[in-house]
């Protein structure tokens, strides 16, 4: 069983102490809670250092953004992200937050959730004919802090009452107890980042095991949620074919394919700064040993032929095990889509098909 995250300390912004989220943290955290005014009196030296202390404060800025994976030249699924927390208590070797949050590494949960939901609501009301997929798992894990913050009690009822949006809660934990008390109304997808068990063991420190994630997926599926899976990053290592094959078999044994909203495949990619951060880790795991070469955009990826083979093999195994589940590639150009999927959707078509539960 995954050890629930218990921070070494909790700091709450004094003016926010009566917010629902701060009150929930107070209730569910056994240790001493400190209050602060202005800036939290913490200066973690790195993203890794920032993971042990939870800061609870108001977010001053926009919550809703376009997914940063939507880069020119790549097929994009028009995903939106709502950032309700920053940093993550887990410590994956390949995590882009090591670079992305290097200047503001404190693990932070934001209190003004109602402001975030107002922002979301304004977009949904402005475009009633469009269907949106909105995720909270970009700058943090969607559920790792939920036992403390009970954030899902605010998010799930909000999205359950909306007709033109799906909320995706993306996680590597099995923290689903609170979700099981809520009615998603068909508007919430709980998704897991999944990987070969060997990669989970070596490169995803502090996360639930693959078996624990799949057991949690089974539970939420029985609780009325649709589920999603992200084989991302696919890591090339000696034995990857067997490793990912076993993960797919375990997935097929655990969940009903009819409840799967989508499955994505994404190859490991490392920016130069992220590659440096990975190389500096004491135990960089399989990620550093993959056959990565620099691409045209400066990011290192597994060389193209091997990357295409990995996609084809894994997509074929997924289809064999699960049938025609909605499947898509993340951060790949049209040429790779064409070679792997046999088709290149427009960004809009991909977004609409995923929102409607169809795929390639």
């Amino acid at each position: 069983m995954l050890t629930r995250f218990v921070p070494d300390a909790v700091w709450i912004e004094r003016s926010e102490r009566d917010s629902p989220l701060a009150r929930a943290v107070h209730t569910h955290y056994d240790g001493a809670v400190e209050l602060f005014d202005g800036r939290a009196p913490l200066a973690p030296a790195s993203v890794r250092d920032g993971k042990r202390v939870l800061v609870v404060q108001r977010h001053r800025g926009a919550f809703l953004r376009h997914c940063p994976a939507g880069t020119a030249g790549l097929v994009c699924c028009n995903y939106l992200v709502v950032n309700l927390a920053s940093n993550c208590p887990m410590d994956c070797s390949y995590c882009f937050l090591q670079d992305y949050l290097a200047d503001s590494p404190a693990l932070t949960a934001y209190t003004n959730v109602e402001d975030a939901l107002e922002e979301v609501d304004a977009v949904l009301r402005a475009h009633p004919d469009r269907s949106f997929r909105i995720g909270s798992g970009e700058l943090s894990d969607s559920l790792a802090l939920d036992p403390l913050t009970q954030l899902s009690r605010q998010l799930v009822p909000f999205f359950a009452a909306r007709r033109n949006a799906l909320l995706e809660l993306k996680t590597k934990t099995d923290c689903v107890d609170t979700l099981l008390e809520l009615d998603p109304g068909g508007r919430v997808v709980v998704s897991w980042s999944v990987n070969a068990a060997a990669v989970v063991a070596r490169d995803e420190a502090g996360t639930a095991t693959l078996a624990e994630r799949l057991a949690a997926a089974r539970r939420v599926q029985y609780g009325g949620y649709r589920v999603g899976f992200h084989f991302d990053p696919l890591v090339e290592f000696e034995g990857w074919e067997e490793g990912y094959g076993a993960a797919i078999e375990a997935l097929a044994d655990a969940v009903d394919p009819a409840a799967i909203a989508w499955i994505s495949l994404g190859s490991l990619r490392l920016s130069p700064a992220l590659a440096q951060a990975v190389g500096a880790r004491a135990a960089p795991g399989y990620v550093l040993g993959a056959e990565l070469v620099p691409g045209a955009d400066g990011k290192a990826r597994v060389w193209r032929g091997l990357r295409l083979r990995m996609y084809r093999v894994i997509a074929a195994r997924l289809r064999a095990a699960l049938g025609a589940v909605p499947l898509y590639l993340c951060m790949e150009p049209p040429a790779v889509w064409e070679r792997v999927m046999g088709d290149v959707p427009s960004d809009r078509a991909l977004a609409m098909r995923l929102a409607a539960g169809a795929g390639w």
Partner: protein
């Protein structure tokens, strides 16, 4: 400070290594630090070369789930170091071995592609160009000629060379549709 670390610092000072490079060296386990010093002294590695070698060794060790010291004892590497090569040839040979160990499938694909390119028997003056690190979907064939007649003859020769199945296999390798 152990004698071996003094020797590491002395080597780094002599070669004017940046502090960050020296730190990475000293962050390795004691046995690895000494092994790295051994290879650095044998090959007279400058800072950039040392950094490349260390990056490769770390990646190979991560791939194998082993220690750098184990990689340094790999038969292929020891064989190269034992050969009576000049300094530049030895550095080149060591880098080639490390690349093969770090990219076993990529280098196998490159070797197979080179063999297939050779089997095309392109006319003299024509050559196959593959993308760097096979990170691309195009194969180019360059033709050099000094006259229109020579160019036409070369083009006919190239077209004839492409009649066999080798070129199909080359594209299949680039696309990952076939592995070595």
């Amino acid at each position: 400070m152990a004698d071996s670390d003094r020797a590491v610092r002395a080597y780094a000072a002599e070669k004017r290594f940046a502090a960050a490079t020296l730190e990475r060296w000293l962050a390795q386990p004691a046995e690895t630090r000494a092994d790295l010093l051994d290879i650095a002294e044998r090959l007279h590695l400058g800072e950039n070369q040392f950094r490349d070698v260390l990056d490769d060794l770390l990646a190979i060790a991560a791939r194998r789930g082993s220690a750098i010291a184990d990689v340094l004892r790999a038969e292929e590497l020891r064989a190269v170091l034992a050969r009576p090569l000049g300094r530049n040839e030895a550095v080149k040979a060591v880098k080639a071995v490390l690349r093969r160990l770090r990219y076993p499938q990529l280098t196998a694909a490159e070797r197979r592609l080179a063999a297939l390119a050779k089997s095309l028997r392109l006319p003299t003056g024509s050559a196959v160009e593959l993308p760097d690190n096979l990170e691309g979907e195009h194969i180019a064939i360059t033709i050099r000629a000094r006259s229109a007649a020579e160019l036409r003859a070369q083009a006919r020769g190239v077209a004839a060379s492409l009649e066999g199945s080798a070129i199909e296999e080359m594209f299949a390798l680039l696309d990952g549709a076939r592995s070595c």
